[in-house]
Symmetry: C2
Subunit: 350 residues, 2 copies
């Protein structure tokens, strides 16, 4: 037999013909819609498997749903996002939905482009992880497409939110370091984008928690904050700045593990040992923090739970089972490892 040059896709019409019914009937079975007898359902299902039918998602997008969930993230290198994603995946595993990830980078413009792409592809729902896109744009998108924002604390009735109690997390670290005897505790946090109009980003919350905790311990005038990109290089720069200053902190905490490792590199560069000369704490408790050669004290944010919660909330909205916005907040947990210890010299007094 001559091989079929380009065998066509099997469509709903083929299934209908095979089963001897109308396409409308097949569609109903497909969507579990009301008004099909058991016999009909049986018959159509049989034909579908016989022909190995798969609905054409692009065509579905024209009228109804595409059964696609878009996840926006800035940086696939941050393995914390991988934890979140695993949560999303686990939650959606047995559903009909497919997850498509858009890795947009840090630029607000690029992120907006990716979000628009997802809307244009008629995705059913969006999970935006700490978007740097201007808030107004996210709100506009959320008006038409169910959306969950992860990270930012800014609530809105247009979208659901899942965030971590970052201020409490920062306080955990400060308390831990103060208990060890530290007084000069510096914070390395992301610069954020003033133009995005989000008022309560993770880094803002973190800074607030840090400052308040320091004040609570009577260390208000020891507050020292250094802005740096959450990357190895960003952390290194911040570390060099902090660790080569006249009044050198005895402990440095950062808003991301990856930045903490950069600080570590800086400590290495200027000949300081960790933790003997300087204690370092990260944030996110990513896998790298637990490496044998790293052992970084960090704050666990339950990324998996955040992802799973986000997915659950989103599907509720997509399927119209809820129409009021929800904010979920996760509780952070301190994980002490060997990168933090008591300061050897007495902390310098003012």
């Amino acid at each position: 037999m001559p091989e079929p040059e380009q065998r066509k896709r099997v469509t709903i019409t083929d299934v209908a013909q095979h089963a001897g019914v109308s396409t409308a009937a097949v569609s109903k079975v497909l969507r579990n819609a009301y008004g099909v007898s058991a016999a009909m359902r049986e018959k159509v299902r049989a034909s579908m498997t016989a022909l190995d039918y798969r609905p054409h998602a692009a065509a579905r997008g024209m009228r109804g749903r595409t059964y696609t969930i878009g996840v926006l993230l800035d940086n696939i290198r941050n393995t914390f996002f991988a934890d979140i994603l695993d949560g999303v995946r686990d939650q959606l595993r047995d559903s009909d939905y497919t997850i498509m990830i858009g890795a947009a980078g840090f630029g607000a413009r690029d992120q907006a482009k990716v979000i628009r792409s997802m809307v244009d592809r008629q995705m059913d729902g969006l999970i935006l992880i700490a978007p740097g896109t201007p808030r107004e744009e996210v709100l506009a998108v959320a008006r038409d497409t169910p959306t969950v924002v992860i990270g930012h604390h800014d609530a809105s009735d247009a979208h659901d939110s899942v965030a971590d109690a970052d201020a409490a997390g920062a306080a955990l670290v400060v308390d831990h370091l103060v208990a060890l005897g530290h007084r000069d505790i510096a914070l390395v946090s992301s610069p954020g984008s003033r133009a995005s109009h989000w008022k309560q980003t993770p880094e803002i919350e973190l800074t607030r928690g840090y400052t308040q905790a320091m004040e609570r311990h009577g260390l208000g005038d020891h507050v020292q904050i250094c802005k740096a990109a959450y990357s190895d290089e960003g952390g290194r720069k911040a570390g060099l700045h902090l660790l080569s200053a006249a009044r050198r902190p005895t402990a440095v905490m950062t808003g991301a593990d990856v930045a903490a490792l950069g600080v570590w590199r800086a400590a290495h560069d200027v000949g300081l040992r960790v933790p003997q000369d300087v204690s370092i704490a990260g944030y996110n408790n990513t896998a790298v923090a637990d490496l044998a050669t790293v052992q970084l004290t960090s704050v666990d944010q339950a990324g998996h739970d955040m992802g799973a919660t986000a997915a659950r909330l989103l599907i509720e909205r997509v399927e119209g089972r809820r129409d009021r916005a929800v904010q979920a907040t996760m509780t952070p947990r301190l994980v002490v490892r060997s990168s933090t210890t008591a300061p050897t010299a007495a902390p310098e007094q003012v």
Copy 2:
């Protein structure tokens, strides 16, 4: 004025009306098709920007292209894939194409599901990074959708391929270790999947390169291969097995940095120092290898170039500028860091 309850999307019809032309004309301008005057193009372009028109990708999918490229990867935690992805992104930055990532996990079944999802969403082209999906299935998909396979060396005229000369890379490491004085060099490599029917996966090539290099140095009877999943835990298990055996290797090389770090953890567990007691070499030269506290000798695979090349090849196919399959091979480069050194004790003789 009453706010529009749910302002509809602006469609090609709106643009046509606004410009006072037919939808067909607008479509032509959109696609840079033949048969439009400069004046027409100008006029339509103006209307498009005036109305902020964006073509509906889902609708496009029904007839033509969706301008979407799907990238399949098993594991977002492997930052080597992030390098590849950056290459793809850079190559496609100024094009009309959007990249959507499907993170499928290691299961062949899950991967197949994601690939099918991409096909159903009418994506224009697929980049599959080291798919564990059975080869036949990939070939079937590639017959209808332009596809580039990254990693596997199995050539086919159905799809393009981009791979690294893994055998040469393994030889680089063996040569380096032998030059340092090692003789008992063990390899930790991925078990792979026998059911996938790929004959030349990266791990198979790597094993071949290792074995041949060992034989070339007259160390054929020192060959020791341990299969382990490319993960921290997989590496740790393999490491415990190797390092607590009677005939303990003085050097361990792995097929992935993440596995090397697991071996490192195992060394730690059994009280061996790296590199004094055992040298460890990774593969991929991911960012973690360069961390201050890690400094892992590794093999750089030019992931960025691989991704960029794959994207370029794919677009050529999508746009019909080429119809013969191409295989591209990258050259690996050894990056020596401090996790490898000369063995302190003379290697045990047989």
